[in-house]
């Protein structure tokens, strides 16, 4: 999941705190907006916008947090739509539905733990690059 590597320069204390906050923000939003997957995405997007003129280090980690939340948003939204269809639309519970919910629950759990790990590592001046997400963030966030 993660890859430790040098960022090219040593970020200062304030930068580490800002980058770490991008992940803390998505955790807080997750708890606040539990039934609504869009809350996390909005929180990460606002944080990204707020830091788009920050240093490359802060921008890069804010962008990675945003990409992670965007992926979760699509998966969780579909899960929510399916659940609401069962409750209000007369759709039946199937093995596929339960399997989907278990899959996204596992992904959310892994993401939750990884986000806590990332926030702590960044706060202590570490470098955490998520598999795929870091490669994608490199494309959308240039120095």
């Amino acid at each position: 999941m993660t890859l430790l590597e040098k960022f090219g320069y040593q970020p200062g204390e304030h930068e580490c705190e800002q980058a770490s906050n991008a992940y803390v923000m998505s955790l807080v939003a997750l708890m606040a907006g539990m039934p609504l997957p869009i809350v996390n995405l909005i929180a990460s997007f606002i944080f990204y916008l707020g830091n788009r003129k920050g240093t490359y280090y802060v921008r890069w980690y804010s962008a990675q947090a945003l990409v992670i939340q965007a992926t979760l948003f699509f998966m969780n939204s579909y899960g929510m739509y399916w659940s609401l269809s069962i409750v209000f639309g007369g759709v039946h519970v199937t093995n596929q539905y339960i399997a989907y919910m278990l899959t996204i629950l596992s992904i959310n759990l892994v993401e939750f733990i990884s986000v806590i790990y990332t926030a702590i590592r960044l706060r202590n001046g570490g470098y955490v690059h998520w598999w795929f997400y870091s490669a994608f963030t490199d494309i959308i966030c240039k120095p």
Binding site: V87, V93, N95, A99, Y100, L102, F132, A135, F136
Partner: protein, 267 residues
């Protein structure tokens, strides 16, 4: 290129996890349908018990037999298990009928008294049976009351207030217009299949709308005030019936119908 490859690996991982998990027979193992049926049956029993504490049930065997005959006629011709529907005739001056979870169909004596023919009554019963068959009752409760409160009522931990709210939701508020129209049309289809003339049901709805237009709605006319836009619905039904082949079976002797009305009317 690297990002694309990693993306494809992640997508493949996601779908293969989902696919493999979906091979586990969760629905059978967790008895999902049995659990939801149990909740529905339990809820229905608790709600009806609560109603029967405050209302008196009519026990006249003639009236009950005739109501059950109508129910049997509708159910047997429409592949509905008639024993799953339990009719309760309540002595009440409110013109009302409503469906509860678990197949309980509550009819007030005032409704029977207000109907001009057994076909009208049959249409109303068919309408409520349609709500049950299309799972409208549970959908409405889930939408308006919520799963958490329903579970607490079914487990007995919800308290009197929660139960009161559930009873009120079912007995004195309408379903949304789409569900009402759906139940109307299904009721007409039930009647057509049972060779019962559905036109009196449409006439009944039209008569209700006239009472509303004349602002002549007695406070007790719950089925009317809770089923708005009766004129429009009556027109839709009349137009639909005009396109169908109608066989007019006599579902009850005139004498039996008059006796039935006299029995409920004397309350």
């Amino acid at each position: 290129m690297k990002a694309l490859f990693q993306f494809l690996v992640l997508v493949a991982l996601f779908f293969s996890t989902w696919f493999l998990l979906s091979k586990i027979p969760f629905v059978e193992k967790l008895e999902v349908s049995k659990t939801s049926k149990n909740l529905e049956a339990q809820l229905g029993d608790i709600i009806y018990q609560s109603i029967s504490k405050t209302e008196k049930e009519e026990t006249d065997s003639l009236v009950l037999t005739k109501l059950n005959d109508i129910k049997f006629l509708l159910c047997s011709k429409n592949n509905i298990e008639d024993t799953a529907i339990k009719i309760h005739l309540i002595k009440s001056a409110e013109i009302n009928a409503f469906a509860l979870p678990g197949g309980h169909l509550v009819i007030n004596t005032a409704l029977v008294k207000d109907c001009d023919s057994p076909e009208e009554l049959c249409g109303v019963m068919g309408h409520e049976i349609a709500h049950m068959q299309h799972n409208h009752v549970m959908k409405k409760l889930l939408k308006e009351v919520g799963l958490a409160m329903l579970t607490s009522v079914a487990s007995g931990s919800g308290g009197g207030e929660a139960l009161k709210q559930v009873v009120k939701t079912l007995s004195s508020s309408a379903y949304d217009r789409k569900l009402e129209s759906d139940a109307d049309k299904t009721s007409v289809q039930y009647m057509l299949k049972a060779d019962i003339n559905p036109q009196p049901f449409a006439d009944f709805l039209f008569r209700l709308s006239e009472s509303i237009d004349a602002k002549n709605i007695p406070q007790q006319l719950y089925w009317i005030s809770d089923h708005p836009e009766s004129a429009a619905r009556a027109k839709v039904l009349t137009d639909y019936i005009a396109t169908q082949k109608v066989v007019k079976r006599n579902i009850m002797d005139n004498e039996d119908w008059e006796n039935m009305k006299a029995t409920v009317g004397g309350m």
